[in-house]
């Protein structure tokens, strides 16, 4: 059977490659200083989806992401690896969303997509580490969910068999389609970008990006309709503005504290930029951070 798969993906700041500008003076993340990347576990999720597409000819993989205009890059990254299309939820009214508002917006977009068998996403994003969005989307759509998936073993007769990676072992469970699956980082790495796909899809753009582009490829976009990426606003997915973004987010940050580790060994440095840079490199290298 061919499957219609939606992959939820998020563009996140690369917290694994932090430099000295990573945090602002007020203790919030300085997103401008960090490269924006495809959330690592969402790539694991994409790979699970692409493997299903390989095994079930005729299947489609569609990405759904929410973020600013530049998050269209996430859809292109998916296309470069073998996905078929994608939607970008973008609207000022979505900004500042916590997990509740995010899952609301995403579930509204999925309702608009309507026709699907599977929704696959990463377990959690590296910028928030909540692992809540996947399960909340399932709840809002009234679907069952399998979390911590490491490998989708098979899809057959409307059922899916999944190996889960838990704290003290593995568990194999079965669920009924349609279903939401959240995938662990221990799952197979995502395949590389493909040389043909990257040439085929590199010009794919949203309406906003086309307006900002310097080179005019009008002819290209009419000849190759798949290069037009869809953007959806709050109104497009018929969402209630009050439940979106900051106004729909009950989570309020009260205070941010810097956690100080109790160190057994200590090192003393002169407080120069160079020394701090060197220390950061060392800590990344020995995996203390990142």
């Amino acid at each position: 059977m061919s499957l219609k798969i939606i992959v939820l993906a998020k563009q996140v700041p690369d917290t694994r490659n932090v430099g000295k500008d990573a945090m602002k003076a007020d203790g919030t993340v300085n997103r401008a200083a960090l490269p924006a990347i495809f959330n690592p576990e969402d790539l694991n999720a994409l790979e699970q989806a692409l493997q299903l597409k390989d095994e079930h000819p005729g299947s489609t993989v569609t990405l759904l992401t929410m973020g600013p205009a530049r998050a269209a890059e996430i859809i292109r990254e998916g296309l470069y690896r073998g996905a078929d299309g994608g939607y970008l939820l973008t609207d000022r009214a979505f900004a500042g969303a916590d997990t509740l508002a995010t899952s609301y917006a995403i579930s509204m977009a999925i309702r608009k997509i309507k026709d699907y068998d599977l929704i696959i996403c990463g377990r959690q994003a590296i910028d928030g580490d909540t692992a809540q969005v996947g399960p909340q989307v399932a709840e809002k759509l009234g679907l069952s969910q399998i979390t911590y998936a490491e490998n989708i073993l098979q899809v057959k007769d409307g059922k899916i068999t999944v190996k889960r990676r838990l704290e003290r072992g593995v568990e194999t469970v079965e669920g009924k389609l349609p279903i939401v699956i959240t995938v662990n980082g221990s799952a197979a790495d995502c395949r590389p970008r493909n040389a043909k796909y990257i040439q085929q899809y590199k010009h794919a753009k949203t309406v906003t990006e086309k307006q900002e582009a310097t080179v005019d490829y009008t002819e290209l976009f009419s000849n190759r309709p798949y290069l037009n990426l869809t953007e959806w606003s709050v109104a497009d997915v018929q969402a209630d503005v009050e439940q979106c973004g900051l106004s729909g987010s009950p989570t309020k940050v009260k205070k941010i504290e810097n956690v100080i580790f109790q160190a057994k060994e200590s090192k003393t440095f002169e407080p120069t930029d160079h020394n701090i840079d060197e220390l950061m490199k060392e800590l990344i290298l020995n995996h203390t951070i990142g």
């Binding site: 590389p192 493909n194 040389a195 043909k196 040439q199 590199k202 080179v215």
Partner: protein, 569 residues
């Protein structure tokens, strides 16, 4: 995370050479493919952007997959069982990854499933793969054989085999035998035509075959019974699906251990003729070898880069006598020279690959239509330059790869002698590059005629006449002096019209030409990009001039009668 394409400024610099415009124009033929293939470029800028994007994929895979696997592959190596080869697990992962990334058949036309890239960006990929793991470059680089199959096979063979290569099947070129190494004219593997089955059967033994258990083999075999020389040899395609070839053993090598080097036994192996009978060695294998030599040059450049980086990083990190060892002149000179030799090798590599690109693209056009007279002239010019630059470049760069690997260990001191550091693997891997696909001594044999006929000198004079910034004038003056000494010793050696005397000094003359050419190429690089190439230009030309003076001194003070002392009695 590093990206091998983005962390080395030489790639974009050489990719954006002015000649690329002509190359892409010839290769894309008015960008006609765009109506048929949705991954074909719209225009020149679009094509260049595609090359960069694909090379970024290669750069990422090199850093994240191939390089981290290299040490394990070197230790584990391939195995042979029941006549079949299994790769080391890391090699298998590398192959799976490059297949999924669509990096096979890069230079093949789109109608057979390829990317239709010019040779230059393809060679850049080879350069990066080799820096990550030179042994893996051998397996991946054997996609070159598809080029030969495309050039000399018929349309039916192209349609049957090339899409398989683009889809990820591997190839091998089965040339050498126990008694036919450098001397391929002595190949004895027997090809017999069967009227009944309307096909050829191969019988005999091949030895030292890289990736000998590949899916599709190009085989050099004796089709003309009773002959003993190269004119009795033809080229065949053997498809592993048909069976008949087994791997008897794999060699236990010093380096490039991940790449299986096989001894093959052909027992009534069904094969088909590729091209015309009797042209196997004299035409097809020569073409195949020229392509392969460019690949080995890329392998050498990748190794140069890897060795330089290992040596440089260690020199910064290692502290002795209270400071980093790179602070000592003896060490920083080594590091600077390694960088200069790497840049010199790379500029030579891409100058050569562009020459090959122009003439091959024109040659391909000539398969579909008659070339205009000026196009024929152009093809002739670049074909000759490619013919001159390939052996010179292969000879020089593979020697530099060895020198850099040697120096990388030297910088590491005692630690470099241990298996704990990558430099010892690089040293072993580099050692084959100046041997296979023709030893340096044989590259000299191929290059010397371009010394005597003046191909190199004409090209050097063209470089000399280019415009350079005033601050580079002192370097240009040095190169003019080097060239004048080159011209003088060529005359001196040719004057007695004694072929043995010429052969005796041939390597010195070829190397001198090499220093002049590579010096001028670096001067052009520095002229365009001061920041990234000025230092290497200065260091290399200083070094090259001293080398030229050494050869000049040797030749001008040498008494021809003294050859006798060198001869084996």
């Amino acid at each position: 995370m590093a990206n091998y394409f983005l962390d080395t400024p030489g790639f974009k610099h050489h990719l954006h050479h002015p000649l690329m415009k002509r190359i892409v124009e010839l290769k894309e033929r008015n960008y006609a493919d765009k109506d048929e293939f949705d991954y074909a470029p719209y225009d020149f800028e679009d094509a260049m952007d595609s090359y960069e994007k694909v090379l970024e994929i290669v750069g990422e895979i090199c850093d994240e997959i191939i390089a981290p696997n290299a040490e394990g592959v070197d230790q584990e190596g391939p195995k042979v069982k029941d006549g079949r080869v299994s790769y080391a697990s890391g090699t298998q992962q590398n192959l799976d990854t490059v297949r999924k990334a669509g990096l096979m058949g890069i230079s093949m036309p789109r109608r057979y499933g390829g990317l239709n890239f010019p040779i230059t960006p393809y060679i850049m990929a080879a350069d990066m793969v080799s820096r990550a793991d030179a042994g893996f470059e051998n397996l991946w680089g054997l996609q070159d054989c598809a080029e030969t199959l495309y050039e000399f096979g018929n349309e039916d063979q192209r349609k049957r085999y090339i899409p398989r290569v683009c889809g990820g099947e591997t190839m091998s070129m089965d040339l050498t035998e126990p008694d036919a190494g450098s001397d391929l004219q002595s190949v004895m593997l027997k090809a017999t035509y069967s009227e009944k089955d309307d096909c050829w059967y191969l019988n005999g033994v091949k030895r030292f075959i890289t990736n000998g258990d590949s899916d599709i083999h190009l085989v050099l075999a004796r089709s003309e019974e009773g002959t003993r020389d190269g004119r009795g040899l033809s080229m065949f395609i053997y498809d592993k699906r048909n069976g008949g070839v087994n791997v008897r053993r794999i060699e236990n090598k010093m380096g490039i251990k991940g790449s299986p080097t096989c001894e093959l036994v052909y027992k009534n192996a069904k094969a088909e003729l590729c091209g015309e009978r009797k042209l196997g060695l004299i035409k097809y294998v020569m073409a195949l070898m020229n392509g392969a030599r460019l690949g080995i040059m890329a392998q050498a450049v990748g190794l140069c880069e890897a060795a330089y980086r290992e040596g440089y990083a260690y020199a910064l990190e290692r502290k002795q006598f209270g400071k980093a060892i790179i602070e000592f002149p003896a060490v920083y000179e080594m590091v600077a020279l390694m960088r200069a030799k790497t840049d010199a090798s790379r500029t030579m590599l891409y100058e050569t690959s562009r020459f090959v690109d122009v003439y091959k693209a024109l040659e391909d056009i000539s398969r579909d239509r008659k070339l205009e007279p000026e196009e024929r002239q152009e093809m002739k010019k670049y074909s000759k330059l490619a013919d001159a630059f390939t052996p010179l470049g292969k000879g020089m760069t593979t020697e530099y790869a060895n020198q850099n690997a040697y120096d990388a260990i030297q910088i590491h001191g005692g630690s470099g002698f241990m298996k704990d550091y990558a430099c010892e693997r690089l040293y072993r891997d580099a050692r084959i590059t100046n041997i296979y696909e023709g030893t340096t001594q044989l590259q000299v044999v191929a290059a010397i005629r371009h010394v005597t006929t003046g191909t190199y000198l004409t090209q050097i004079r063209e470089y000399e006449a280019l415009d350079y910034k005033p601050e580079l004038e002192p370097l240009r003056q040095k190169l003019i002096e080097m060239t004048s000494r080159y011209d003088e010793i060529v005359g001196l050696v040719m004057d007695p019209k004694d072929s043995e005397y010429l052969d005796f000094h041939a390597r010195r003359l070829v190397e001198t030409a090499g220093h002049c050419i590579m010096g001028y190429l670096l001067l052009q690089d520095a002229n365009k990009d001061e920041v990234n190439f000025r230092r290497s230009a200065e260091v290399y030309i200083t070094y090259g001039q001293a080398e030229v003076n050494k050869h000049y001194s040797y030749i001008t003070t040498f008494d021809p009668k003294d050859i006798g002392y060198f001869k084996h009695s």
